[in-house]
Symmetry: C2
Subunit: 317 residues, 2 copies
DNA sequence: TTGTAGGCGTTATCAG
DNA sequence: CTGATAACGCCTACAA
């Protein structure tokens, strides 16, 4: 029995039936498995896709991941996800060390788009798709959202529900979504007396702290609606308000952005603007596969339209 | 400049200073990166750990992952996580295809422990640590929990808060935690008239459906407390009860198991039994590293003690 | 201290 | 249709 025959049979190439059988039998007998490292070395690719995010603890990224799985399904590619989880912006280091053999394609959704990171991405030895709004000059495939549109959707909705003083609770302004959403709100509210609060992280904890600041305001200053830059912040506000005995939405309407799975579970259920994380993941996977099969095609772009999901936190039915 | 010198410098072996400098300069210039596949082939290991779970969408597994990251940090190992996400019990297939070169160690937390899966695990060509309660005869490292203790903690607590009729909402009985927690409850409640409901999945949706069944009960039969087999089910119950205008905890007390991050965010905050997912992840990573350095040591076991976290859903302060 | 050469397990080419 | 053989890129004796 020769090495070459084994390789052929296991890769589904033509072979005489009895040879095929003998090989299969022997492989089963010995528990033989092809060595993925060697195959990857020889072929120059191991059908391995990596998803890199800052914090897989955030439900948004779990959903993004589900989408990537959807988009990859049937292609035979394996997905491995890398999350720094601890230090933000360790992503740069992660990307730099992503040599061939570890991954053959990368989907990345970076909170902070430092120029260092972008350079690593452009120079990457493997195909890259970015989930986020890049500058047009960056020659990279990307899946984008209309941040300004998302904020506007929520803002107009709050107004239409009768809110007179809408406060904005933003995330860290040094992050891409943090700054985009903040800018969008300022744009909209420049003629209203909208109050703006900025927090240190996109977390429930930060949302609760933001609530405390809001609650300390004088009666006249206090908002009757809050637009939060993401759902975790919104949930923190909601939690704070409810604990303080403030009725939602009667005394305070609250809306978030992202429409995470838990948004509908909360009580009152959270009104939110869906950014279709799952679909974005799917699109990213498709772009990546296209890029892997056609490495020198011009950069592509997909844009996803935000959608308002009205629930109890802004509108008691 | 010779290949060997490059290899030596890049791996931190001794070399003359000026050689070192020249190599580094050239590497930076050319953007050279060692090919991980080739290195892995030669060395027989790529410092790559895989975490396999049924559904990374479940917050429990996100926390487990954080723990594995904690336990791995400083070891230089990379973590990649594999989630079937779609078909339950595709884990078997995943494990069977996990040849050398893809991963050098595996942490797995299977919902269903089919004998097929266990066989794959025992025969695996790479070290394996199981997060879950294996039969003692299975020669595998494992991180365990005291399921019966966890259920008892919640049950006794509900009793001590004055609950007279405690209903149990269980998960799928064909899963390991589903069956263990159900058995534990039956054991405890055999002399009480505790009602038992079994659901098809450990999800919020299933919890809501279970609430509908509970709500359809006659006044006399209706429970005054619910013990749910996990927090997602508990949240579903909570959501259902609140929507129906039932006061929690005054008319219905609700307790869950897992103590997911969102448990404290919910309003009323959910009483739950912590199974310390993050610590279990950390322990699993430690066991795995030990196993990788000492492949033929006898199987080890760690057990984590559950802890009751009392919050508003059982006890209005 | 540096260079040369062999082989890790696989696939692809080329004779038989 | 099958068997021998040459790379893939790396690390590591061993020789210089």
């Amino acid at each position: 029995m020769s090495i070459a025959s084994v390789s052929r049979v296991l890769n589904g190439k033509a072979a005489r039936p009895d040879t095929t059988d003998r090989v299969r039998a022997a492989a089963a007998e010995l528990g033989y498995l092809p060595d993925a490292a060697a195959r990857s070395l020889k072929l120059g690719s191991g059908r391995q896709v990596t998803l890199a995010v800052d914090d897989i603890g955030n439900p948004v990224y779990s959903e993004l991941m589900q989408g990537v799985v959807d988009g990859l399904s049937g292609s035979g590619a394996r997905l491995s996800i890398a999350s720094t989880g601890q230090e933000p912006s360790e992503l740069s280091a992660l990307v730099r060390n992503l040599s061939r053999g570890l991954a053959d394609g990368l989907v990345i959704s970076p909170l902070r788009r430092s120029s260092e990171l972008l350079r690593s991405l452009v120079d990457s030895p493997i195909p890259v798709v970015v989930v986020g709004n890049l500058a047009d000059a960056v020659p990279l495939d990307s899946v984008r959202i209309d941040s300004a549109g998302a904020v506007r959707l929520a803002y107009r909705h709050l107004q239409s529900m009768g809110a007179a003083r809408i406060a904005f609770v933003g995330g860290p302004p040094d992050t891409a979504p943090g700054s985009a959403r903040l800018t969008a709100f300022r744009q909209l509210a420049q003629h209203d007396d909208g109050r703006v609060l900025v927090t240190g992280s996109f977390t429930v904890r930060s949302g609760e702290r933001a609530w405390n600041k809001l609650a300390a305001l004088s009666k006249a200053e206090r908002p009757d609606a809050v637009l939060a830059a993401n759902d975790l912040l919104a949930l923190g506000i909601l939690r704070g308000a409810l604990s303080a005995g403030v009725a939602v939405p009667e005394q305070l309407a609250v809306a978030g952005i992202d429409d995470i799975t838990f948004a509908r579970v909360f009580s009152p259920a959270l009104t939110s603007v869906s950014l279709r994380s799952r679909e974005r993941g799917r699109l990213a996977a498709e772009l990546l596969q296209h890029r892997m099969s056609e490495p020198s095609a011009p950069p592509q772009m997909r844009t996803v339209t935000p959608r308002l999901v009205v629930r109890e936190s802004t509108c008691r039915s």
